[in-house]
Symmetry: C2
Subunit: 237 residues, 2 copies
DNA sequence: AAGTGGTCTAGACCACACT
DNA sequence: GTGTGGTCTAGACCACTTG
């Protein structure tokens, strides 16, 4: 099964209760001991579950006073992206489609090979234009090592590559390093997105790793700035 | 002292060893049990320390094989910003100075009051222009509730407000919610940063909370895009 | 089979908040 | 003082990787 972790079950249960309104905003949750009794586990396991919710900003735990609901699941219109969350997942209801510009297998440049930490290996090079409600919205360059992502086909590109990696290849993602900056539109942006030379782009560079530490994706996505918002939460350690 | 947490000590010790090159890139660290013996603590405490490093992307732990160094502390030229990390901290060696444009105490607009989750309270409103090596670089609007941040003075603004909050007020920061987007320069940008009407800005909106869950800062910072890079690491839960 | 991490427990003890 | 979270321990047991 793989997904029989007690703390994850408790986490999703409480998260769902908050989202369903069973626990309301600013309401106090039962204390750790009570929850531990309810879920038939130790207090530490409850804490581990609640810690995820703290990190997501949904609850606050105050030593001496208790645990309080502080917000609900962040599913605004904003386009966020994490390691699980490809574009597709987070965008929610809106219609997103992909047009494949290039899907080739090749030897990477030295720069790409360095990013992916590979040598003498082939990669997929994929270029896609994303459309949001039929309007061109972003252009994505994706590089993945052939040795890790086996059997990729065009049909996977139209949906989400991440689904294929998770569901078919059974690989588990672990983390993503992200760099965001602004840039002037280049020739490719102009021709593929049909925009002016003096337009402005938001560029997201992403390096993603699997649970075993190997890098499976390097991508550069350039968005029209008008629709782009990046949201994230930092939590102190 | 306040800082007598065992796991934090272990964390900083190992982090520093990695940064000093005592543990080299891709090198395998001692296993959990050995480290626990070395630091005279339980394995769980070692894990807690290493988990922070995992979250920061510095190490990878592979069940069955070990713990490996995967990178060093992210202190590139990039200007990152977290909850601890105000601009000042992360920018490192470069000379950063602030020019105070406005420092007033006023009733907030409804919008700002909502963001800070206050009612009928006064706030500080601060506008500063940041200079990087004497060049104007960003303009920052900061709003803080008077009830939380007491006794703020101009001299604190030239340095870092965060230092004042942490060292003098003894308040502990917990998290920051951040939104990043691109935008065209507005009149204020043009006049204060001395740039063209058709320039482009990177806007960072930040909402920061203390450990007790109260919101102590809402800020909007607009940067010249040329020098701005935002970096972060996502880790799966 | 041996090495290594991850999950989980049951309980001790401390720090902090409320009243 | 009582309630509540956070830290820490010592050890059990399981899952995964590697020789």
């Amino acid at each position: 099964m793989g997904e029989s972790l007690k703390y994850k079950g408790i986490y999703t249960d409480i998260r769902d209760k908050i989202n369903k309104g069973e626990y309301k905003l600013n309401e106090k949750l039962p204390d750790g001991e009570t929850l531990a009794a309810y879920y038939e586990c130790s207090k530490l396991t409850v804490k581990k579950a609640l810690d995820i919710l703290v990190q997501e900003g949904m609850i606050v735990r105050r030593r001496g006073s208790g645990t309080f609901v502080k917000g609900v699941s962040t599913n605004g219109e904003a386009i966020a992206l994490g390691p699980t969350a490809g574009l597709v997942k987070t965008i929610g209801k809106q219609k997103i489609t992909s047009k494949i510009i290039l899907f080739s297998i090749e030897k990477p440049s030295q720069e790409i090979a360095d990013k992916l930490e590979i040598e003498n290996e082939y990669i997929y090079k994929i270029i896609r234009v994303r459309h949001l409600n039929k309007e061109p919205y972003s252009i994505e360059h994706t590089f993945m090592p052939l040795s890790i992502i086996k059997g990729l086909e065009p049909k996977h590109l139209e949906d989400s590559i991440y689904n294929y990696i998770r569901d078919d290849l059974k690989l588990k993602m672990h983390s993503a390093h992200v760099r965001i900056k602004g840039d002037k539109a280049n020739d490719e942006d102009c021709s593929l997105l049909n925009i002016d030379k003096d337009s402005f782009m938001m560029e997201v560079e992403k390096l993603a790793t699997l649970e075993n530490g190997s890098i499976f994706e390097y991508s550069i996505t350039r968005h029209l700035y008008e629709n782009f918002v990046f949201e994230t939460v930092f939590v102190q350690n």
